[in-house]
Amino acid sequence: MKLAAAAFGRTFQFKDLKEVMAKANEEKSGDQLAGIAAEDAKERMAAKLVLADLTLGDIREHPLLPPETDEVSRVIEEAVNEKIFAEVRNWTVAELREYLLAQSTGNEEIRRISRGLNSEMVAAVAKLMTNLDLVQAASKIEVTTHCNITIGQRGILAGRAQPNHPTDSIPGMTASLYEALSYGIGDAVIGINPVIDSADSVKAILATTKEIMDKWRIPTQNCVLAHIKTQMKAIRSGAPADMVFQSLAGSQDGNAAFGIDVRLLDEADELIRREGTGTGPNLWYFETGQGSELSAEAHHGIDQVTLESRCYGLARKYKPFIVNTVVGFIGPEYLYDSKQVIRAGLEDHFMGKLQQLPMGVDVCYTNHMKADQNDMDNLAVLLAAAGVNYIIGVPMADDCMLNYQSTSYHDIATLRETMRLRPAPAFEQWLERMGIMENGRLTKIAGDPTIFM
């Protein structure tokens, strides 16, 4: 494995693959905080040059986190198809990039090759791609999933209704949900982040969303984003959950910090299949985001892009209905400004899609990050062009419970109109029956939440 590159009149020598992977990243404050980022622009480029010439075999043979000591690595390693890997093991990372972007490579080709790639190879190729590369390659990949309805089809942009409330007030959540539905939002999921992480609270919220779905015959799925153990307790006591949710990290000890491991996820998987109310076969909702491993001091000197890709390798095991990267939630010490958030959003979406995941993105920022709503407008348009499966809908983009800003009901409606995208087919038919949408456009009554009262 060649770890040196001649450039700018000198030789850059790197000590291992981990260093090359970290230094080949676009600038991220999180890699700088971890002390693993490139020293300057030239060293960054030297690392990219080295990475471009490494083979996919080199990457597989030099695990950054050995499967013997990390169960996330084991899950990823066990999923690699040996026959397909053998076809590509001598490709360089540069060749993988060019293959993905070639006009002759379409959805079917990418789907096949993806089974021979591990998460580190996926991260490696992302590091060599420009933002527009990431948009184009991702846009080729169609990942459709089915819980109660199908989403992810080409030309479809779904929305999560996220009607959170600062005290878990059921009427308050219901009010925000009515507003969402009146704008045609909620086809990805009606997903609520609870303040109180208790089984009773989760059960009450699931029951309410289910009642509303039943009353208005809304073709969608519900979920409450409590800790997995709390959801399991609620489901065992009879709560109607179409899906289960969990945040994932890209290392075993990162997951330990979240209070989960593969065994627990397996157990929850079995439970939702037996006791869940969703049709399936896709019954999971996962969230990720660059930087969570560093924040839990569980990064092992690995860069945040690679760790994020490993989250997707783990997620893939459970064939989720939706996955989203909460890209700007974690704060400026990981993604400093809009440039870094936009880059991370495109990287995450691409890396997830390449691992055949139904990717959504929470296009978001906190108030101490150097970003504003205009930056979110930009990223949302880029992701819509890249074929993102869904984005988040919050009233006026202001989540009054999580205290951050995301995308709004208005934004999803606007992206659909300007980018010629539609809600999920089953959901659009329902919107037409309700008189909210006609020929893919909102009607006069759209935006009036009292139509559900």
Binding site: A175, S176, V195, H227, V326, P395, M396, C400, M453
Partner: protein
């Protein structure tokens, strides 16, 4: 995102909700505060244009709702920005501007600085951490936990060593929080300490501080208890929220669970005057029980 919400955030949200429910009585409190202002004429003369858009009552804009009364009911049930209506698929101008005003206040409080005259009023001298500048402060939380060598020297030379109570003030993530609350919270804290017969050391201000700056200060001055009044990460609901972090014998290596916190100190949350008094009570208990954080019984 991690769904497990720390208790202080939970309290924040409950308080934010209460604030909304108690909006009319808050207005009354604000009135009283204004009367007590040393320069009432100026306060009265200032036009409050920004306040009227950001603090004004929310009005639904749905032009022809199916159920008019129902709309009011929905709005009353949540602080979320609903019933906002639209032009095409975009929000109405005033709603966009209201949102941007709230964000502007939040941003300015992160990048703002505390006026030195305010610090002089309470005799607070200033030391800095190694934060360098706001950009670095945001990127390197570890730097906000280290006082500069010059600062350490200044603390050593100007502060009484081994005080019973050490008070430290810091801008943290919101200079605005210090500006908005210090005049109320600090005197009431001092009154409270006096009432309990507790003695305070020499207070000072830390520019560019993070919560864990308490530990090195603890090493230098060896107080029995330390309270840090620090600006919180601003939200859109308010950019003026302050926290009081308290610790019994803070030293390097103190863990988060050893600290006790009162968060959400601002006009619409825990009123600063009340907070000051309450901090005194908590410090008293820490001294009695010789512990803080999860082990403290309140």
């Amino acid at each position: 995102m991690n769904p497990v919400i720390p208790i202080d955030q939970l309290v924040d949200r409950v308080m934010a909700e209460l604030e909304r429910k108690l909006a009319p009585s808050n207005a009354a409190t604000a009135q009283t505060a204004k009367t007590a202002n040393p320069m009432p004429d100026i306060a009265a003369a200032l036009p409050e244009v920004a306040e009227s858009i950001t603090d004004g009552e929310r009005i639904a804009h749905v032009p022809d709702p199916k159920w008019e009364e129902g709309l009011g009911e929905l709005l009353a049930s949540t602080p979320a920005r609903i019933g906002v209506w639209r032009c095409g698929t975009r929000p109405l101008t005033k709603e966009v501007l209201r949102f941007r005003c709230d964000h502007a206040a939040a941003i300015d409080s992160v990048y703002g600085t505390v006026d030195s005259s305010l610090l002089d009023e309470f005799g607070l001298f200033t030391v800095e951490t190694r934060f360098g500048n706001t950009e670095n402060y945001l990127k390197r939380p570890d730097m906000g936990r280290i006082v500069t060598d010059e600062g350490v020297e200044r603390i050593r030379s100007r502060c009484a060593a081994k005080p019973q109570v050490q008070v430290v003030v810091s801008d943290g993530l919101s200079a605005n929080a210090v500006e908005a609350n210090l005049r109320d919270v600090y005197p009431s804290l001092m009154d409270s300490l006096q009432a309990y017969g507790l003695s305070a050391g020499t207070p000072f201000f830390v520019r560019g501080g993070r919560v864990a700056v308490m530990d090195p200060i603890g090493d230098i001055l060896q107080p029995e208890v330390l309270v840090l009044l620090i600006g919180e990460r601003p939200g859109l609901v308010t950019s003026q929220s302050m926290s009081a972090y308290m610790c019994y014998r803070p030293r390097r290596g103190t863990v988060e669970s050893d600290r006790t916190v009162i968060s959400n100190i601002h006009r619409g949350g825990t009123p600063p005057v009340e907070a000051g008094a309450y901090i005194g009570t908590v410090l008293k208990k820490m001294l009695e029980q010789r512990t803080s954080g999860v082990n403290l019984e309140l």
